[in-house]
C-alpha cells in the first residue's frame, strides 16, 4: 500500500462514514458509528500498521494522511453530534408549544368606587393649592347643621333641605357645612382657614333616577382678611376645568343660601355641545354644577371669626352629579346598587 492507495482508502472510508452518519438519529447511534470509524478497531486506526511497509521517505506523508483523515472523521462526527443536540432541543421546545391566545388567570385589579375616585381627584387638586381635607360626623346637631349656619328654627330655608331627624336635637347632616363651622371653631377665629370637606350627606327624598336620600358632597371654605369673590370665581374655574376639561368656561348666576351672601349657582359650559345647546343641557348651553358664595357674616360670627377683619368664600358640589355629567350616567342609584358590571367600568 502506498500513500496514493492510502488516500484512496481513507476517501472511501470517509464516504462510508458520511453515509452512515446520515442514518444516525440519536447520540447513542452516533457513539456506535464513532467507535466503528474511529475506535481502536476501526479501519483507519488499523491503517497505521501498514507504516512499516512504507518507504522512509513517504512515512511522514503517510502518517499525516492518516491523522488528517482521523481529524476529518472527528469533525464530521462532532458536527453530527451538534446537529443531533440541536434537534433534541428543538424537539423539547416543540413539546412545550402552547396556545398563546388562551386566557390568563384573572389578576385584574379591583376598582376604587367612582365617587371616591372623584373625591380623591378633587382632594388632590385642592391639596395642590394648599387646602387641608377636613371631616366631621354624619350625625349632627341642629345647632351645627342649621343654627350656626344662619338657618334658625322655622326659617323658610329649612324647606330647601328636607331633613332626616333622629330626635329634637340630632339629625343626619344635610350638607358638610357643619364641618366648616367645627373647623373655624377649632381654629379659634385667629388664623386663616383653607379647607375642603368631603362626606356623605342625607335628605328626606324618595330615591329615583335623579334623587337619592344619601349622597356625597364636597364643600370648600377659605377665610382670610383678603378673600374675595373673584378668588372664588377663579377657584371654581379651576375646579370646573379639572373636572370637565381645560376648555370649559363657567357662569355665575345669583342664588340664595342662608350661609352665604352674595350667593351664586355655577354653571359650566356643556361639554356635549360646547355651549351651543343640546338635550343634555336642556338647550341652555350650560349645566349647573355647584352652589357657592361669600360666607355670611352671621356664620363667621357664630364660628368665632370677626367679620370686620375676616371674609371668606364657600362652595359645595355634589359628587354624584359630577360623575353623572362626566360619564353620562343616567341613574343616580347606580352608585349605591353596586352592580359590579357598573363599578368595574371605572378601574
Amino acid at each position: 500500500m502506498d500513500v496514493k492507495d492510502l488516500n484512496k482508502r481513507i476517501k472511501t472510508l470517509e464516504e462510508q462514514l458520511i453515509q452512515a452518519l446520515e442514518e444516525v438519529e440519536s447520540q447513542h447511534d452516533l457513539q456506535q458509528v464513532k467507535s466503528r470509524y474511529l475506535g481502536k478497531k476501526a479501519e483507519i486506526s488499523q491503517l497505521m500498521r501498514h507504516m512499516k511497509d512504507i518507504p522512509d521517505d513517504d512515512k511522514p506523508a503517510f502518517g499525516k494522511a492518516v491523522n488528517e483523515g482521523k481529524q476529518r472523521f472527528t469533525e464530521l462526527i462532532e458536527a453530527k453530534r451538534e446537529e443531533i443536540r440541536k434537534a433534541e432541543v428543538e424537539r423539547k421546545l416543540r413539546a412545550e408549544r402552547i396556545d398563546l391566545t388562551l386566557d390568563a388567570p384573572d389578576f385584574t385589579p379591583g376598582s376604587v368606587h367612582i365617587l371616591n375616585q372623584i373625591v380623591e381627584e378633587i382632594e388632590d387638586l385642592f391639596i395642590g393649592m394648599g387646602y387641608r381635607v377636613k371631616e366631621g360626623p354624619e350625625i349632627e346637631t341642629d345647632e351645627y347643621n342649621f343654627e350656626k349656619l344662619n338657618i334658625p328654627k322655622d326659617h323658610p330655608a329649612r324647606d330647601m333641605q328636607d331633613t332626616l331627624y333622629i330626635d329634637d336635637e340630632h339629625l343626619l347632616r344635610t350638607h358638610t357645612s357643619p364641618v366648616q363651622v367645627r373647623t373655624m371653631l377649632e381654629y379659634g377665629g385667629e388664623k386663616p382657614v383653607k379647607i375642603i370637606c368631603p362626606g356623605k350627606v342625607y335628605r328626606r327624598d324618595d330615591d329615583d333616577a335623579t334623587h337619592s336620600h344619601q349622597f356625597y358632597q364636597i364643600e370648600g371654605l377659605v377665610v382670610d382678611e383678603t378673600t374675595t369673590m373673584s378668588d372664588l370665581k377663579g377657584t371654581l374655574l379651576k375646579v370646573a376645568r379639572a373636572m370637565f376639561g381645560e376648555d370649559r368656561e363657567i357662569r355665575l348666576r345669583p342664588s340664595y343660601f342662608p350661609f352665604t351672601e352674595p350667593s351664586v349657582e355655577v354653571d359650566v359650559t356643556c361639554a356635549n355641545c360646547d355651549g351651543a345647546g343640546c338635550s343634555v343641557c336642556k338647550h341652555s348651553g350650560y349645566i349647573e354644577i355647584l352652589g357657592a358664595g361669600m360666607v355670611n357674616n352671621a356664620v363667621l360670627k357664630s364660628s368665632g371669626y370677626d367679620p370686620k377683619r375676616y371674609q371668606g368664600f364657600a362652595f359645595g358640589l355634589g359628587i354624584e352629579r359630577i360623575a353623572m355629567l362626566r360619564y353620562g350616567i343616567e341613574d343616580i342609584r347606580h352608585f349605591y346598587v353596586n352592580d359590579l358590571r357598573f363599578n368595574r367600568q371605572f378601574r
Partner: protein
C-alpha cells in the same frame, strides 16, 4: 311664581324685549327661570255660534252642528253632551293646532263630514284644576262671532315661571317682579294708587288684637255685593298664575294677592254677627271648622281671628266654614293683615294647609302694601261685584314701616368682590333698584324700601350690586392665603387600604347607611342599639348601620342574582352611634379568586380572606394578628375568629352561617372587618433597618403528631419562643389527618428557617436547636416527633 307677561307689561313696558331675552336676563341677574310657556298652546281658534244641532245618524252619542264662524257656516261633528243650538263656542278650524300638538283637519266622522272642532277648555290645554267643566266651553252670549277666541278669553298670554329662592318674598308679587324687571332692563315703572269711591255709611267694625302673632290687621266692609263670575281677563290671569277662578269676590282677593303679595280674606260680614274682630292666640286643644268643612284642633301659637266670641278664621292659614262667602252673601268684611311668619309656618305645616297665602305670610310681606292691597281689592270688588264700600278703614298696626338705612362703602364693595367698581356704577345700580341713598366720600347710606325685606346688611347690598353688574365680569383670581395642603394620617391610610385591596383584585363598594333596624346588628361582634330616625324614610330605611357588611351582603346578593360569582368587595364605612361614629373596613369574599378560567381555580375559603387581611397587615405595616376562635350569631360556629393584637380587638373574620347566607341566596360567604381607629394606632411608621445577613439560613423540617385541636399558631409561638435570635421564619407545609393517624390527632409538618446573624450555623448547633424546639413542643403541646 308664574308671571303673566301681559300683566307684567301693565307695570313695565316689555316693548322690544323678547320673552326669551327676558327669561335669560332673569336667569343671569335675578332668579332661575323654571319655564317659559304660552298660556294656551293653540292657534286659529275662532268664536262660533251653534245654529243647529241634531243627532248624528250613525252614532247617538255624537251631534252634528251647523256653526256660524263669521266667514261661513260649517258642519261640525261634536261629541260633547252639553252642545246645544244657540251657544257661542270656541271653534278650531281646519288647519288649526290644539294643545299637545293635535292638528285639526277636515274629516269625516262615521260617515258625516266635519269641518273643525268645538273645543273644551281641556282641549285648549287649560288644566281641569282651573275649571269644573266637563264638555265644550260655552262662551257668553255677547261673544263676537268670527273673532279670535284666545284674544276674547285673554288666553293669548305667555307665562314666565320663576323658581324663587326663599329670601325673595318680594317676587311673590307682580309689583315685585315689575320692580325687578325695571331694575334689570333699566326701564320706567308705573304702579298707580287704587281709586276708591266710598259710600256714606261708615265702617264701624271694631278691630283689636291680643297677640303678637298679628302684626297688623286692616278691615273694610262692603255692602250690596253681587256674587258672580269675575271678568275674563282676571280669570285668565289667575289661571296663568296657577290659581283656580271661583267667584268675583274670591278672585279679587287672589288677584290682589298676586299683584301686591299681600294675602287677603273676605268674610261674610253678616255671619260674623258681632261687628267685631278680635285676634288672639288659640287655646291648646280648641277646635274650629275650616271652610273645607274639616274640624281642626288648634294649639297655642296658632293665631285665631274671632268675632269676639267664636273663631272665624285661622289667621293667615284658612277661613272658617261659618263665615264663608257664598252665593247669598251681600256684605263682606275684607281683611288685609300681617302675621308673624314663624307662627304661620308652624301652623300651616302642622295642619298641612300650605297655600298661596300661607306661603306669602311665611316669607314676610311688605308692611307698606297691607293698606294698599285692602283699598285695591275694595275698588275692584266695587267694580266687578257692584259693591258699595263703607267709608273708612278700621285697623290695628304695630309694624315699623319706614325704610331701614344700610351703610356700604365703595371700598368694602370692591374688597369683598375683588372688583374695581366706581361710585358712578354703584349710583346707577341703586337708581335702577329704586333704592334711595345718600353718598358721602364713597360711603353710601342706602334706605332700603320695605318691599325688600331680604336686604338688611351691607353683604345684601353687595349682592344687589354684584348681580345687577354681572358676577361674570369679575376677574378670575386665586386666594393669596399661604398654606400647605396635606392629607391627614387617617386619610392617607384609607387611600393605602384602597390601593392595596384593589391591587389584590377587590372592588370597592359604597352602600346606603340607612337600613332595616331588624338587621343592622346581624353581623356585628358586639351589639348596640342602632341610631334610628324619628320618622322613618321607609320601612327598610330607618336605622343607621352598625357595620357596612349589612349593605355589602345586599350587594353580593344582587350581583349573584345577575350571575356574577366573583364577589370580592370591600367598603370603608362606619359603625354609627349617637356618641361616636367608628370607622370600619369591611371585606366580603365569595367565589373563585384569581380565576384561572380554563384550569381549576380553588374557591375562596377562610384562608383566602385571611391572606387578604394579612396582605393588608403587611401593607399598613401592622403587627401580626392573632386569631381567637369565637362563636357569633349568624356566623359559622367553627370558622370564625376575633382578630387581636396584644390582646386588643382589631376586628374579626369568619364564614357566614350557611342558613343566614342562604337567606340572601348565597353560600360560602367569608367576611372580615377591621376597626380603623385601632389599626391606625397600631401602625408602625418607622422602618427599622437591619443589614442583610451574609450567612445563609438553614432549612429544617419537623413533623409532629399533636391533638387535632392544637392551633398551628400556638405551635409556631412555642417555636419562636424557644429559638430566640435563631429563627428566621417557620411555616406549616403539611397538615394531615386520617389513615395511619390516631383518632383525635393530626400530623403537622413545619419548616423552620434557622440562621445565626454572626456566622454560619454548624450542623451540631442545628441539631441542638431542633431538639430544644421538640422538647418545648412536647412539653407545651404534648407533641410527638414523627
Amino acid at each position: 311664581m308664574k308671571v303673566s307677561l301681559t300683566w307684567l307689561n301693565n307695570y313695565v313696558s316689555l316693548k322690544g324685549i323678547e320673552p326669551k331675552t327676558l327669561s335669560e336676563a332673569f336667569t343671569l341677574k335675578s332668579q332661575e327661570v323654571e319655564d317659559l310657556f304660552p298660556l294656551v298652546d293653540a292657534d286659529h281658534l275662532t268664536i262660533g255660534k251653534v245654529i243647529d244641532c241634531r243627532s248624528h245618524e250613525n252614532a247617538s252619542s255624537l251631534s252634528v252642528c251647523d256653526v256660524d264662524t263669521g266667514d261661513a257656516t260649517r258642519q261640525i261633528v261634536c261629541g260633547a253632551d252639553n252642545v246645544a243650538a244657540g251657544q257661542k263656542v270656541v271653534v278650531a278650524l281646519p288647519g288649526s293646532r290644539l294643545a299637545g300638538g293635535m292638528e285639526i283637519e277636515k274629516t269625516e266622522i262615521r260617515g258625516v263630514e266635519s269641518n273643525g272642532m268645538i273645543c273644551s277648555l281641556n282641549e285648549l290645554g287649560i288644566d281641569e284644576k282651573y275649571h269644573y267643566e266637563d264638555g265644550i266651553h260655552v262662551l257668553d252670549p255677547s261673544a263676537p262671532v268670527g273673532t279670535d277666541a284666545l284674544e276674547y278669553l285673554a288666553f293669548n298670554d305667555t307665562v314666565l315661571e320663576l323658581d324663587l329662592t326663599p329670601n325673595r318674598a318680594d317676587l311673590l308679587s307682580m309689583h315685585g317682579v315689575a320692580y325687578e324687571t325695571a331694575a334689570i332692563f333699566n326701564r320706567n315703572l308705573s304702579i298707580s294708587d287704587p281709586e276708591l269711591i266710598t259710600a256714606e255709611e261708615k265702617n264701624q267694625v271694631d278691630i283689636s288684637t291680643e297677640t303678637d302673632g298679628c302684626r297688623s290687621y286692616y278691615g273694610r266692609v262692603l255692602d250690596n255685593v253681587s256674587i258672580g263670575p269675575s271678568p275674563r281677563w282676571m280669570q285668565a290671569r289667575l289661571i296663568a298664575a296657577g290659581i283656580r277662578p271661583i267667584n268675583n269676590v274670591v278672585d279679587v282677593t287672589n288677584y290682589v294677592m298676586l299683584e301686591t303679595g299681600q294675602p287677603l280674606h273676605a268674610f261674610d260680614y253678616d255671619r260674623i254677627g258681632t261687628g267685631e274682630v278680635v285676634v288672639r292666640d288659640a287655646e291648646e286643644g280648641e277646635t274650629f271648622i275650616t271652610l273645607d268643612d274639616e274640624t281642626r284642633t288648634l294649639k297655642r301659637g296658632d293665631v285665631l281671628i274671632t268675632n269676639g266670641e267664636k273663631p272665624i278664621a285661622i289667621g293667615g292659614v284658612m277661613g272658617g266654614a261659618q263665615t264663608e262667602v257664598t252665593e247669598g252673601t251681600s256684605s263682606i268684611l275684607l281683611e288685609s293683615a300681617a302675621f308673624e311668619p314663624r307662627r304661620i309656618r308652624r301652623t300651616s305645616a302642622r295642619l298641612e294647609l300650605k297655600s298661596e297665602s300661607s306661603l306669602r305670610f311665611e316669607r314676610g310681606i311688605d308692611p307698606q302694601r297691607t293698606r294698599y292691597a285692602l283699598d285695591r281689592a275694595a275698588s275692584l270688588i266695587a267694580i266687578y261685584a257692584s259693591a258699595s264700600v263703607r267709608d273708612g278703614v278700621q285697623y290695628v298696626d304695630n309694624q315699623a314701616k319706614g325704610s331701614k338705612p344700610v351703610d356700604l362703602s365703595l371700598s368694602t364693595l370692591n374688597k369683598v368682590l375683588g372688583s374695581a367698581y366706581k361710585s358712578s356704577e354703584v349710583r346707577e345700580t341703586l337708581n335702577r333698584l329704586r333704592f334711595p341713598y345718600e353718598e358721602e366720600d364713597g360711603l353710601f347710606t342706602v334706605h332700603v324700601p320695605s318691599r325688600r325685606q331680604d336686604v338688611n346688611t351691607y353683604q345684601d347690598l353687595i349682592e344687589e350690586i354684584g348681580r345687577l353688574q354681572d358676577y361674570n365680569a369679575l376677574p378670575d383670581t386665586l386666594p393669596t392665603t399661604l398654606s400647605t395642603g396635606a392629607l391627614s394620617a387617617r386619610q392617607k391610610m384609607r387611600r393605602r387600604i384602597r390601593r392595596t385591596l384593589t391591587g389584590l383584585g377587590l372592588d370597592e363598594v359604597m352602600t346606603y347607611v340607612l337600613r332595616d333596624k331588624a338587621r343592622v346588628s346581624d353581623l356585628t361582634v358586639s351589639d348596640a342599639d342602632p341610631v334610628e330616625l324619628s320618622k322613618p324614610l321607609s320601612r327598610d330605611r330607618h336605622a343607621l348601620v352598625l357595620t357596612p357588611l349589612q349593605g355589602m351582603l345586599d350587594v353580593a346578593a344582587y350581583n349573584k342574582n345577575r350571575k356574577e360569582d366573583r364577589l370580592h368587595i370591600f367598603e370603608l364605612g362606619k359603625r354609627y352611634g349617637l356618641k361616636a361614629e367608628k370607622e370600619r373596613l369591611s371585606i366580603l369574599m365569595h367565589g373563585p379568586y384569581r380565576h384561572r378560567r380554563w384550569r381549576k381555580t380553588p374557591e375562596t375559603d377562610f384562608y383566602t380572606l385571611k391572606g387578604v387581611l394579612e396582605a393588608l397587615q403587611e401593607s399598613l405595616n401592622l403587627p401580626s394578628f392573632t386569631y381567637e376562635r369565637k362563636t357569633l350569631d349568624h356566623y359559622h360556629p367553627h370558622q370564625t375568629a376575633l382578630l387581636k393584637v396584644d390582646g386588643e380587638l382589631v376586628g374579626h373574620i369568619g364564614k357566614l352561617h350557611p342558613e343566614y347566607a342562604s337567606g340572601y341566596g348565597l353560600e360560602d360567604v367569608y367576611v372580615g372587618e377591621l376597626d380603623l381607629d385601632v389599626i391606625e394606632s397600631l401602625r408602625r411608621t418607622d422602618h427599622a433597618y437591619a443589614p442583610i445577613s451574609p450567612y445563609p439560613g438553614v432549612e429544617r423540617d419537623i413533623a409532629l403528631l399533636v391533638d387535632e385541636e392544637t392551633p398551628a399558631q400556638a405551635l409556631k409561638e412555642t417555636i419562636a419562643a424557644s429559638l430566640p435570635k435563631r429563627l428566621k421564619q417557620s411555616h406549616v407545609f403539611d397538615v394531615y389527618t386520617g389513615e395511619r393517624i390516631e383518632e383525635g390527632k393530626k400530623s403537622i409538618a413545619i419548616r423552620l428557617t434557622l440562621a445565626d446573624p454572626q456566622g454560619t450555623l454548624k450542623s451540631e448547633d442545628i441539631d441542638a436547636l431542633i431538639s430544644k424546639v421538640i422538647e418545648a413542643l412536647t412539653k407545651e403541646h404534648g407533641a410527638l416527633q414523627r
